[in-house]
């Protein structure tokens, strides 16, 4: 098992390095001279020259990359021009908000998807199955931010059930504030999770080992939970990993719609303010989060599927 974990971690390191190179190069995409673009209207010849030197823009590219990496290593994530403060200082608070939102949406997705998948699999091909599968297919066509706005209109403005924006103070407040955004973020994930869990449940229900479990005389409940559900969870676990990264992507938009002070809204604000340093760093933070989640899913998977345990 340890060998498997070491192997997986070993594979992630080179990918992480390549990601830093990709993100480092992103800023080169900026048309014209990045330094003047970054300073924007505050650019003066002196400040542009100073910035160029600070980033070593006049030196060959790989040296610039070395500077970039050294900064990363020392925790100097660059300073936000808009707030004139180091990015690193604002990061923890923002990250915890986005983390809360993503986990909250994951919990909601599982809460929605699992029961529906069980019902759909139990009533295979009969009307409940078809209604659930059809209703789960529709949300994939709806843009998340629009659904967010609709929820906002109905539940906040009209019914006044939930606050329209913000994060609130304290856990209970967070739950209330982030319910609509988390729901918006989760419906697309829930529909994919429900459909995949349903089809894997249907597949497992038809396997020989479930037949044999029933032939042993086990009660239906025991067969369902010990044999069927556990084996059906396997594909769903990998899916959770993949869809979580989509959920993180989605948070960028949802935080903007609901004005939530997370990494996502910060990134959009920085983009509109052409605060390129922050955009670059936040993209790296999102990538870091995604890689950790992918790694976690890979390490969790063998716990469910012993066949992988031999590493």
């Amino acid at each position: 098992m340890l060998r498997y974990a070491l192997g997986r971690i070993g594979q992630t390191v080179p990918i992480a390095l390549l990601v830093t190179i990709l993100i480092f190069l992103l800023i080169k995409l900026v048309p014209g001279d990045p330094a003047s673009a970054i300073l924007g209207d505050r650019a003066t010849d002196a400040s542009v020259a100073a910035l160029r030197h600070q980033w070593g823009l006049d030196r060959p590219i790989w040296e610039q990359y070395a500077v970039y990496m050294r900064n990363l290593a020392t925790g100097n994530l660059g300073t936000s021009l808009r707030y004139q403060s180091p990015v690193a200082d604002m990061l923890p608070a923002r990250t915890s908000v986005t983390f809360f939102l993503v986990v909250y949406s994951l919990v909601l997705s599982v809460a929605i998807a699992v029961p529906l998948a069980l019902v759909a699999a139990a009533y295979r091909d009969r009307w409940p199955d078809q209604v659930i599968r059809a209703s789960m297919a529709l949300p994939l066509a709806a843009p998340a931010f629009w659904v967010g706005i609709l929820l906002l209109i109905v539940f906040s403005l009209k019914l006044r059930l939930f606050p329209a924006d913000g994060y609130g103070g304290g856990f209970a407040d967070h739950v209330r504030h982030l319910f609509l955004p988390a729901l918006t973020l989760s419906y697309a994930f829930a529909s994919v999770l429900c459909r995949n869990l349903r089809s894997s449940l249907v597949d497992v229900l038809q396997t020989t080992y479930v037949d044999f479990a029933r032939a042993k005389g086990l009660r239906r409940r025991v067969v369902l939970f010990r044999h069927v559900f556990r084996a059906a969870l396997l594909p769903a676990v990998t899916l959770i990993g993949v869809r979580l990264t989509y959920a993180i992507g989605g948070s960028v938009v949802i935080e903007t719609v609901f004005a939530i002070p997370g990494l996502g809204s910060w990134m959009v604000d920085s983009i509109l303010a052409r605060d390129y340093v922050v955009v670059q760093t936040l993209t790296l933070m999102f990538a870091l989060g995604t890689m950790l989640i992918n790694l976690a899913t890979d390490l969790i998977y063998p716990l469910f599927d012993p066949r992988l345990r031999m590493g």
């Binding site: 080179p14 990918i15 992480a16 390549l18 990601v19 990709l22 993100i23 992103l26 800023i27 995409l29 900026v30 048309p31 091909d125 078809q130 599968r133 059809a134 297919a137 529709l138 994939l140 066509a141 709806a142 843009p143 998340a144 931010f145 629009w146 659904v147 706005i149 609709l150 906002l152 209109i153 403005l157 459909r195 089809s199 990264t245 989509y246 993180i248 992507g249 989605g250 960028v252 938009v253 903007t256 719609v257 990134m267 959009v268 983009i271 509109l272 390129y276 955009v279 670059q280 993209t283 999102f286 990538a287 995604t290 890689m291 992918n294």
Partner: protein, 283 residues
């Protein structure tokens, strides 16, 4: 993407010659594109002309989708907007589909360093959430239709590469490939004349659902102000502009969303119908 049509149609519906999903999806698309092309004839309103004494009028016989905060007819702008969003969506998937399929086939069949190169690239791009990477690229390149196409093109190919690579890896070990190699067929012939034709149908089906994803991405970029410049009637932009007036005129923000969903469902149905049509005969 399992099938919507398959889910709607009763399981034992006899498959008509042209699958139900394909017909429905195609009909919806034709209606939308037709409406968009014939918009100047269908509505007398000008999508750009502002009419200050018709601001934020609710949906009515005169204005089916009501008017926005500049008094422009929302229904007309939705029709004109369809051309923008669909054009971007279809253009944006061309490169990812072609490049992804070729990269996947090469990685799948050749294996070794080719497979490692393609898969490392896929791992790197997968490491950054899709929407974050697209938004970052557009942010750096600057908004506009061309930059959207580039951003989506650079990121979206990995989905097709992974799908086709999986299909080729699975088929490569099937006995018919062994038999063809024994018959002295060249590697190129086996990949181009046998492995690809078997991998294309699932890729084509996925293409339809990928277009849905691209429509959502385009409208999201528009919503974030990174898409097409105002006053273009792009759906995402319209929702963004309408958002500030949801207290007094919710329809300005809501209606374009329905249009977006309509286009999405059309492509999902197309994809399902395609899946039925391309399913191997006799299987």
């Amino acid at each position: 993407m399992t099938t919507l049509a398959g889910e709607l149609a009763p399981p034992r519906a006899a498959r008509t010659r042209v699958p139900l999903g394909l017909a429905a999806g195609a009909a919806m698309l034709v209606a939308l594109l037709g409406g968009s092309a014939l918009a100047p004839v269908l509505t007398s309103y000008d999508p750009y002309a502002q009419n200050l004494n018709a601001m934020l009028l609710p949906p009515s016989a005169a204005h089916w989708f009501g008017t926005d905060n500049y008094g422009r007819d929302v229904f007309t702008r939705v029709l004109y907007g369809a051309a923008i969003d669909l054009r971007i969506a279809v253009l944006a998937v061309v490169f990812p589909f072609v490049f992804g399929v070729v990269a996947g086939a090469v990685a799948g069949y050749l294996g070794g360093w080719a497979d490692a190169a393609v898969m490392r690239a896929v791992d790197v791009i997968t490491a950054v959430p899709f929407m974050v990477l697209v938004i970052a690229i557009v942010a750096f390149l600057g908004p506009g239709e061309l930059n959207i196409l580039v951003a989506i093109g650079v990121v979206d190919w990995i989905v097709f590469a992974r799908l086709v690579r999986g299909e080729v890896l699975r088929d490569k070990n099937l006995e018919y490939v062994t038999a063809l190699r024994a018959l002295g067929f060249s590697r190129a012939r086996i990949v181009l004349r046998h492995l690809l034709p078997n991998a294309l149908p699932p890729a084509a089906v996925f293409l339809a659902s990928d277009i849905v994803l691209v429509i959502l991405t385009t409208s999201t970029l528009g919503f974030l102000g990174l898409g097409v410049r105002p006053p273009a009637p792009e759906w995402g932009l319209m929702i963004s502009e309408g958002r500030t007036f949801i207290y007094t005129g919710w329809w300005a923000a809501a209606m374009p969303g329905f249009a977006c969903m309509y286009a999405g469902i059309a492509f999902i149905l197309l994809g399902d119908g395609l899946a039925d049509l391309l399913r191997v005969r006799g299987q």
